[in-house]
């Protein structure tokens, strides 16, 4: 894959991600940042795919990039990282295998359909795993207080640091 192709993919990734930012009502100023996150994740994934990586591995790395970028941007802009991660994974949605599952099932070709269904599941899991891996990598240091009881909040409690 040439550099120009990769850049073109980056542009499409940017548009897809920013468009979903509009749909999810992300604050206007954050739309370009969302687009950038999605473009980066997508370009890494495309580059790895072009280099011969397995789609699941490439998707995992793409989601990991989205997670890492989302976390640092959330710190920088003081917004929840959800707005970057949810929109950033959009270009990686396994649309083709999901569609193939439906078509093969309708053609009564159950084994091939199941194959596509498993691939779809693996790709969705790879996205989740990438986001969780980014979160674990970046939050290893700050664990919650072991004495903090979930669901119990009090005046002057652990919330007031």
């Amino acid at each position: 894959m040439s550099g120009v192709d990769l850049l073109e993919q980056g542009v499409w990734g940017f548009l897809a991600t920013a468009g979903f930012g509009v749909l999810f009502n992300v604050p206007l100023a954050m739309l370009p940042v969302c687009g950038f996150t999605g473009a980066m994740g997508h370009m890494w994934r495309q580059a790895l795919l072009a280099g011969g990586a397995h789609p699941v591995a490439a998707t995992f790395v793409g989601a990991l990039i989205v997670g890492l970028l989302g976390y640092s941007q959330a710190r920088f802009f003081h917004v929840p990282r959800l707005i970057f991660t949810v929109t950033g994974i959009i270009p990686m949605v396994p649309g083709v295998p999901a569609f193939e599952t439906v078509v093969f099932f309708m053609r009564d070709d159950i084994p091939t359909g199941l194959e596509s269904a498993v691939l779809t599941g693996l790709l969705v899991s790879a996205i989740s795993a990438g986001l969780v891996a980014a979160r674990l990598l970046l939050t290893l240091g700050d664990t919650a207080s072991p004495h903090h009881v979930r669901g119990l909040w009090q005046r002057g409690g652990p919330d007031r640091k």
Binding site: V26, P27, L28, L82, V93, V103, S128, Q154, R155, G156
Partner: protein, 277 residues
């Protein structure tokens, strides 16, 4: 468990004598806190973020302690002040996505945990946040969603024809979704109808333009319905050990994904399976 063990009041005694809330005030406090929790969940926030926002607002309003249990379908909230305590249970309406609203409510709670607030003021601020319009009006949102789905067709390997077809289908589906949402159609039925309409329209455009890969346009035209927010929030909930919330949201995401499948199956059936991968 004593106070020091909880890492609670033992560490940081309040600098001024705390005024205990009356029974009526506490009742109204729980009402506001519950309302904020419902609004957060309906805007797509994760259970932990919702709980944190509710707690900060409750403590900022003067409660000594809040005990919260938040799931995507219902909230149990107890507020304690002095010897009084009030508990409420609230059901949560259909889950949607509104990032700006969730951010604003969370921001309000952070301000309140620093400077506190009074009940009428908080009620008004919550009302202002809930009534604030979307970041962009509908006539921009609809084409923006169309362009996003067109870009997805390009990502899948499509051409200019597939871009246009997916954009037209997705824009139609988004317009329909807004209309059905106003008519209070439930999420699953809405998803089936929008997936059917969007993919049919995309297929129609590819037929007009003699496209090589009509399936790419059809796939991309239903992308806007993919339950991305419930899916990612489900992962966040699970990794926060909110198992009930995580499983609930995961199931919701699966149901919506299946609903998209049903809509596409109907399209394939109408078009006679001529759309081949």
């Amino acid at each position: 468990m004593d106070a020091a063990q909880r890492g609670g009041p033992g560490e940081l005694p309040p600098s001024e004598p705390v005024r205990h809330l009356s029974r009526e005030e506490l009742s109204e406090l729980v009402d506001v806190v519950l309302h904020v929790g419902q609004a957060m969940l309906q805007a797509g926030a994760s259970s932990f973020r919702t709980e944190e926002t509710m707690a900060r607002i409750g403590l900022g309003l003067g409660a000594d302690r809040l005990e919260l249990y938040v799931t995507p379908t219902g909230i149990i909230a107890t507020a304690v002040s002095g010897g009084e305590q009030r508990t409420r249970v609230g059901r949560v309406g259909p889950l949607g996505v509104n990032m700006a609203r969730a951010i604003e409510l969370n921001r309000l709670s952070r301000t309140m945990s620093l400077v506190g607030g009074t009940l009428p003021a908080v009620r008004r601020q919550v009302e202002v946040i809930e009534q604030s319009p979307r970041e962009l009006p509908d006539w921009i949102t609809i084409p923006a969603v169309g362009v996003a789905c067109g870009a997805f067709a390009q990502i899948l390997g499509g051409d200019a024809i597939e871009f246009v077809a997916a954009a037209v289908g997705a824009a139609l589906a988004q317009w329909l979704r807004m209309a059905l949402h106003r008519a209070r159609v439930t999420a699953v039925a809405l998803t089936v109808i929008c997936a059917l309409a969007g993919s049919l329209a995309a297929w129609g455009v590819t037929r007009l333009a003699d496209s090589q890969h009509p399936e790419l346009a059809v796939i991309a035209s239903v992308l806007l319905l993919v339950p991305g927010v419930p899916l990612v929030t489900s992962v966040i909930d699970l990794s926060n050990n909110d198992l009930v919330s995580g499983v609930t949201r995961g199931t919701l995401a699966l149901m919506l994904a299946l609903a998209i499948g049903v809509g596409v199956v109907l399209t394939l059936w109408i078009t006679g399976l001529r759309i081949l991968p």
